[in-house]
Symmetry: C2
Subunit: 382 residues, 2 copies
């Protein structure tokens, strides 16, 4: 336990989750203090954040540019910030692979880890969960689905029977295969219910995001993937559900606003009243719908679930291949449907390692990135 | 704490909740043992239950008839059974006013009280809650709505912001005022989603039941009635919801089957796997709808909420007037819409007592029963 004011390091402070984390901190100046801020490249915003929150430490990928900003705090590398003694809670809000090493550093240091980066658990779930147990680190899920499950499990001391992850279904829920192959970047970036970063928005449109969340849920809640199901719920009001051994089901509901799960991770085990968070309006909320996901039109979902089931280095390869493929799609070099194709090809050609070390995971990651590039330059997919 | 096998007294064992309680006990012979059974009049069924569950004690209103049944267990009056030392949990499954004194006896004896009788809390909530605190008795709600709220509150250590009780809306949800005045007993006894006793089925059709539940929730969860709302949810899948101070909402879901909340009250804090309880089927469950209750077509709802708000002897008068009015409707002596009329008239003519004693509550109850009879014989309502 730290002081009554929780001291936070926010890694990825200029991204979508990072900015919303700072909104929550701004709402509770007597509960949270920022002692470290880290961002990759958006130095203008980082400088503003430093001015407002006055952290002791700052990090940016571009240390040189940082030094020109006349910022009055010390530079600290990402992993040192994640394990710095005075930090109570580390918010891992960086996206993609970059979250892995800071997450490992934070759990090894026994921190509370507010984890918004799903790739770290997907790539190295076994290592992170084992290190967390060993070092009494607590992983506080920030993803809305995992936060929902975590809230539903609160006070329940028995293992759940089933976790039900809801998915909005993305903007292409009712697209035909032909329509899917013609999807533009602009279309894919318009998520129907959530405002998120670009990578996760594309992953939501392919349902890869939901597949990654199944793997994440497997690790976070020690649940076999056969007992985790995905349910399309277009309104994004029920964020996930838990079925217990007696058949009783609990659900967590709220408007789609990431500040709620962020705040819950920061304030846990307490809840804090925040007038800026919207309350469900039952005068207008008249209908919640559910449907089964279509695995054939959205093959990424099954690719992820299967990679998670096989384990070893497969999930790392999945993540890396997807990250590169999404970048290629965003730069308009491949079609929307090529994302699944490239990930599938890469997974099929992978020589897996069981119970991999961090080095083996990073090697698999590098191999997969290389492989996707190679598959693309061969002119293969399109 | 009792032994590992929980010893139960089931008061009202031949009614709907009583029979379903015994179904749960039958499914877990190594967890629950029946040591007392009590029924009012259905002696044939009581004799069968005694033969199967072999309790030590039995009670019936008709002791004389009981003595002819050749039952090999001792007679014990209701309140003595509710407070008998070896009893761990008392299931109060009697309906109406008859639940009051056994409930008071059980809480005074510090028992776990699985409470299916809502009238006792509505009539004497203040006394029962105070006695429960004083004697460390635990009230375990059996009503599906209160069980839902209780499950959602599990592990949450802060006061909730709002309780949202769902209501199926009953069979006459879309009836016009004219149609409502012509409702037959047969129509009113056909509840769209729940199989229940006759009294509570009629109360569901008038929404009086939901009003009583608002008062019950007020006492069970120490929540001002202004922070308890009613939401019509025709599918009866979400049994109630809790909104927390951060705006997060939790809901409890299951098919409408009273065995689940009964079992939860008996097994609490554990959950038990029971293959006989249905699990939600997400392949067929595609839509949950919500609408606001119509207070003008269903005046009983507001009569109850208002009586609860005023407190004192008003809720006891409400209960008694409703009990008599429902009996009059079931025997076809008044119209469906007369139930609300009679309850309203009775409440208006009542001289309330604040913080009443049990005697004052019983006197108000007797006064209200007399008043409804008087109003009816005057030929007033119809």
């Amino acid at each position: 336990m730290g002081s009554i004011i929780k001291q936070l390091a926010v890694l990825g402070s200029t991204g979508s989750i990072g900015q919303q984390t700072l909104e929550v901190v701004r709402a509770f100046p007597h509960r949270f203090r920022i002692i470290g801020l880290a961002a990759s490249k958006n130095l203008d915003l980082l400088a503003k954040q430093v001015n407002e929150f006055k952290p002791r430490f700052v990090y940016s990928q571009d240390r040189e540019a940082l030094s020109h900003l006349n910022i009055e705090c010390d530079f600290l590398p990402l992993e040192e910030m994640a394990s710095y003694p005075q930090v109570d809670t580390v918010v891992i809000a960086v996206s993609g692979r970059s979250g892995l090493l800071p997450t490992v550093a934070a759990v090894k240091a026994g921190k509370n880890v507010a984890l918004a980066n799903k790739e770290s658990l997907v790539m190295a779930g076994e290592i992170i969960i084992n290190e967390a147990k060993l070092n009494k680190a607590q992983i506080l899920p920030v993803d809305s689905e995992h936060s929902a499950i975590w809230q539903c499990l609160k006070g329940e001391n028995q293992k759940a029977a089933q976790l039900i992850l809801t998915a909005s279904g993305g903007p292409f829920r009712h697209f035909s295969p032909a329509q899917l192959s013609e999807v533009t970047v602009e279309q894919a970036l318009e998520h129907p219910s959530w405002q998120m970063g670009r990578k996760v928005t594309i992953d939501s449109a392919t349902l890869m995001n939901k597949g990654l969340e199944v793997i994440e849920a497997h690790w976070l809640f020690d649940m076999p993937s056969d007992n985790i199901r995905v349910l399309i719920h277009a309104q994004s009001i029920i964020h996930s559900l838990v079925e217990f051994i007696d058949g009783s089901v609990k659900a967590q509901l709220s408007y789609p606003d990431m500040r709620l799960p962020i705040q819950y991770a920061l304030s846990y085990p307490e809840r804090l009243p925040n007038p800026e968070l919207p309350r469900l309006n039952w005068d207008s909320l008249s209908r919640l719908t559910f449907e089964q996901p279509d695995f054939s039109r959205f093959p990424c979902l099954n690719l992820a679930i299967e990679a998670g089931r096989k384990g070893g280095t497969y999930p790392a390869v999945l993540c890396a291949a997807d990250e590169v493929a999404v970048e290629l799609f965003l730069s308009q070099r491949i079609k929307f449907t090529d994302i699944a194709y490239l990930v599938k090809q890469t997974l099929e050609q992978h020589q897996p390692v069981a119970h991999p070390t961090l080095e083996e995971i990073l090697a698999a990651d590098a191999w997969a990135r290389e492989k996707v590039t190679q598959l693309t330059t061969e002119g293969n997919p399109c």
